[in-house]
Amino acid sequence: MSSLPGITVRPVRWGDFDDLREMYFRLYDERAAGEPIGITLFADRPSLADEVSWFEGHYRSALAGDEIFRVAELDGHAVGSCTIGRFGPGGTSEMSHVGELGILVGQAHRGKGVGTALLERCLCEARSKFELVYLTVFSVNTTAQQLYRRFGFTVCGHLPRVIKRGDRYFDEERMVLDFSVVPVGTGSKH
């Protein structure tokens, strides 16, 4: 899949905060509207202060080189973000060779290759930092799983009822990409 013309994937900047915050807060409206969003949310929308703390934490880790944090920019705005952070507790542990991936694309920009562009760039960078990358995805979100599979991810777990939205349970899939097994890929269709 070729990504949308005009999309740039670049390291996050402090100035991206408002775009990312708005994108994240909108997920709560999407959930309220019954949209099938595949990201685990808080019961109530966090405060602005909570979001500043979240962003600051990830921004600091990215500056320290502990985490990959990139955004997809379109027309001067961040329309998607991808983080790959180090597994495990503070300091390094027997899990520090593993990265955990999280990705979010704004509602208006889904299905345009923004996710592909982000994954391509971030996974390429992750190769020099991690030996494996894990992620969790809603089982019903087959579109995302298809995308991950194209990059070489395989399912390694099916976690029943780990999400409870209202009184409904959702399952999650755990997926893994092992860089020692999967050759350099771009996610393009063969």
Partner: protein, 190 residues
């Protein structure tokens, strides 16, 4: 189930800090002595302050209801503990119905049925708090997995190479135990 003599299972108390932190610290000595250690360790052993932070979180969890920790006491010494902690502590999320289980029985007391006693009590209490309990176990730790299965845990994931110890890779298994019937099956007999 064997019932070990002279073992008391009781809630965590502040005076357990010394025994439990020593017990964890001892895992680093066991590994150095070439023994099988099936918990994930840091590259640099935790400091006294790290242990204090960990312990205070458990103690705090007892007060706030975020977690349950039971201790196995033998001859006035804490020789094991089991914690079931709300997934993603903090404000309520869509995963707050999930408990994450961790258990450790100290050397010299393993294989005596203490783990089973700890699990029995902790899972019983977890029923008031969580819909489902998850845990992660080293794939090589088949004895622990057998114990978990005896309590009804089911395998739901196999995570390759999540651990790296002395240049060697180890896998982890993810297991879950549903404490409530799925929706629509309330009261159903199994």
């Amino acid at each position: 189930m064997s019932s070990p003599q002279g073992v008391t299972i009781r809630p965590l108390r502040s005076e357990d800090f010394h025994d439990l932190s020593r017990g964890l610290a001892h895992m680093y000595d066991e590994l150095a002595a070439g023994e099988s250690v099936w918990i994930t360790l840091r590259h640099v052993p935790p400091s006294e302050a790290d242990y204090r932070k960990w312990f205070d979180r458990l103690l705090d969890g007892m007060r706030t209801g975020e977690s349950i920790t039971n201790v196995a006491q033998v001859d006035s010494r804490a020789v094991g503990h089991c914690t079931i902690e709300r997934a993603r502590p903090g404000p309520t999320t869509e995963q707050s119905h999930v408990g994450e289980l961790g258990i450790l029985v100290q050397k010299g007391h393993r294989g005596t049925g203490i783990g089973a006693r700890l699990l029995e009590r902790s899972l019983d209490e977890a029923r008031q708090k969580f819909d489902i309990v998850y845990l992660t176990v080293w794939s090589k730790n088949v004895e622990a997995q057998r114990l978990y299965r005896r309590f009804g845990f089911t395998l739901c994931g196999h995570f390759p190479h999540t651990l790296k110890r002395n240049g060697q890779y180890f896998d982890e298994d993810r297991m879950f135990l549903a404490l409530t019937d799925p929706p629509g099956r309330a009261g159903a007999k199994r």
